[in-house]
Symmetry: C2
Subunit: 311 residues, 2 copies
Amino acid sequence: MPKMPVPFGDDVSACEIGGDKLVVLKTDMLVDKTDVPRGMNLWQAARKAVVMNVSDFAAKGVKPIAMLVSLGIPRSLRQSDIEELGDGLNAGAREYGAYVIGGDTGEASDLVINLSVFGMTTKDKLMLRSGAKPRDILAVTGPFGKPPAGLKILVDNFKASTEIEKTLVQSVLMPHARLKEGLALSQTAAVSAAIDSSDGLAWSLHEIARASKVGVLISSLPIAKDAARFAKNNKLDPSALALYGGEEYELILAVKPRLWGKAEKAVKIAGGKLLKIGETTAEKNVLMETSGKHVLIAPKGYEHFKTLTSF
Amino acid sequence: MPKMPVPFGDDVSACEIGGDKLVVLKTDMLVDKTDVPRGMNLWQAARKAVVMNVSDFAAKGVKPIAMLVSLGIPRSLRQSDIEELGDGLNAGAREYGAYVIGGDTGEASDLVINLSVFGMTTKDKLMLRSGAKPRDILAVTGPFGKPPAGLKILVDNFKASTEIEKTLVQSVLMPHARLKEGLALSQTAAVSAAIDSSDGLAWSLHEIARASKVGVLISSLPIAKDAARFAKNNKLDPSALALYGGEEYELILAVKPRLWGKAEKAVKIAGGKLLKIGETTAEKNVLMETSGKHVLIAPKGYEHFKTLTSF
């Protein structure tokens, strides 16, 4: 086995190719019945497959260069459906400056969209899950809760006012990967650990804690305004929505305190923002401060929905 | 779009990464219901997914370095089944000196094994489908017919004597990619065009003709002895079996006549052999010489079987 610059279980894999250069690779399989919610069309599903992969590259601070696509196509799909998938894949790739350079198609019972993404970086630029030290600052690239609320509307028939519903549903149908932020941060050497939040904030915090052998104390949980309102109107706990929902594509970062200013500035120049949410701790618990008390954040991940899709 | 060192539709994709270096990428999706014949166990199916991909690398003369695996797993599979898949993937990778470095799993209705393979080469070493000139020598790395005969036994209930049946079935269950041969040939600069034969010899000859803008004249069709005997006993046309069967993993090569000796020697040193089967022609037909007459080889590809598998 060659030396692994990225440990098993991180978001991407990598190979050394001489000097400090790394080839970064990632594969991710989207299956309609678990990854495509009701109300998402084929163009959006294909684009989402791209965003899922780009988000992992963003978390590692690596620019995706090229993608290969394998499509498993059910017999029920028409030629126009397949073209819609192709358009969504290309649109997603172009949004993030990457190209679809090849692929494979075959027949399958489910619609399966498998993407393989290739990028390059150097060892010193790669952000892993495993480098955080106690008392690093924990930060995120945006507030949480909108996609989980949107999923509750799409999948579980929850209700919201027309305007809020539109915003929340749109956050599920048209997710965005924080690539600009990840690439900017990878240039600063300020980030000690990074992960995206596609499996939910709670799960990602536990992952950083596990991989870096630290604890986590969340002092401020940023919840999107529309998500908070949705939670209130539906008698849901807004913190639970933000912590245990999934399909979020914010980055979660541990930042070296002395380089916080540099990190914040780099993300601002890239057009984004960094929100402090807490810090890493020597004691290995994953905690949140609520009304002056420390409560455990459960190691719960986002469970993919089992509902059948609309096509 | 960046410049494409390998045109769309060739066996692999590639990206320039500076100098004359290329990153070579390939993705291929195996779906049990069309790619896994009755009688093939999960270990063999997983290993076969590796061989399919390695064979394409072999045809391009590129060493596979690392693989990513996405598994779509039906609920009916047990933990031990999944371990069997993992063992088959690792066994296949190790046979060809590559490593599985990451992947993804999810739930799917079919068993889906998607492999993404990464390798590196330089522009001058890469063998494409498109470089053949008229009067190049056409050669293959072994005789044809055994896997198509084996498939007829496994899928269509054809019969053969116990010993021949074992050989023919084994050629389907345990295919081998001609990687040593492909790598040796890529060092000679003797090969003007190359392709593997997983979709059948006839289809591959048409592909070389199309991509290289030449014709093909086959003067000698090497048919495996056991396949010829199987054909005779079952009143099948042995040439049709060799031409239009699939799941073959021999390489088909156009070789510059003045470098034939060099190519032959390189393959011999690698432990293989090169069999002359004909030549490329200026006239753009794909023909075979039979009893002194030139007959057209139909542009027929191997059709994946639709029979349900045993698991």
